[in-house]
Symmetry: C2
């Protein structure tokens, strides 16, 4: 059923996804789908759990190259129509249900945490200042990409990958993300 949903979202928008369409494509009866997932939003939330966290953490030994690979991976992921649709469906579901909001939030925090390795290694190699907050670096990298998808409703092109990597790299190098005596915040 989840595979069927993912396929549907590769053909059409989240808006076009209905439980009836899912039933037709998956061969699962619509009442069964409704019992288990309640709504299309419920289906999309389970898709997040299943397919959301597959981005590898680059480890090239070079901070700028790591940033570039991570940005490209986020771009490729979100440029796939079905993933963009899942994301938009998730935020729609989050607006309607505080429990979903918490699931979405936790999923993104976890993904950021995973890839902070890039910034922590850059600190260890002396490429960026000590006391750099690694989560701020990753959030700075991710933000322009999600802004493009969610607010400007466009795809992430090469130019945006380039400016995002460079802006984050320059800012991190010049100590914008340094926290003095407050590493956790």
């Amino acid at each position: 059923m989840l595979a069927a949903a993912y396929e549907e979202l590769d053909r059409d928008s989240f808006a076009a996804l209905t439980l009836d369409r899912l039933a037709r494509r998956s061969g699962v009866h619509v009442s069964t789908i409704r019992r288990r997932w309640r709504t299309v939003e419920g289906v999309v939330v389970e898709l997040l759990a299943e397919r959301g966290s597959t981005l590898p953490t680059p480890d090239t030994g070079d901070f700028r190259r790591d940033l570039t690979q991570l940005t490209q991976a986020i771009a490729d992921f979100n440029n796939a129509l079905r993933n963009r649709n899942v994301l938009q469906g998730l935020l729609a579901a989050a607006a309607h249900d505080p429990r979903v909001e918490e699931i979405v939030r936790a999923a993104f925090v976890r993904r950021i945490e995973e890839v902070t390795l890039i910034a922590r290694q850059a600190v260890e190699r002396g490429e960026i200042p000590e006391d750099t907050d690694p989560r701020e670096v990753i959030a700075a990298l991710a933000a322009p990409l999600y802004y493009r998808v969610l607010i400007l409703r466009g795809s992430i092109d090469e130019r945006l990958v380039h400016t995002t990597v460079e802006a984050t790299y320059q800012a991190a190098r010049s100590g914008v993300f340094v926290r003095k005596g407050d590493r956790e915040g």
Copy 2:
């Protein structure tokens, strides 16, 4: 009716907003509301048109101070519960309806365009390089704020205002947003 909706969104989440609640608070009959706006999403889209575009464009004569004032204004706007709720409701509506998606997109593009004055004046004063793309500067400034609200589901604190201004300032100064022979793109 719109004022009533705005008040409701200041007390509770978008998820809690129903046409019945709007009817009770506004004194307008629910069938009238349904006829005119169809859904709560429809109400929220009209709220965007009415109250969305009230941010003034700072003009202090100093690029960094302009960036700080604009960032603070976006922060204050989105930290008000009702505005955050309108935004989240809008994106939910956009996921469900391509026409709403286009309205939301156009509204943000228009707001970016308005405040590009900040970057264009900074170019004129020689604070940032010629051929800097002013829309990229503004998008870089706005992105971390919307990422915080929409993805991390948190409020925009002083620290984020500071890092966002500094990252954008450093990047713009160092020419990250310069487009050679392609000012429009």
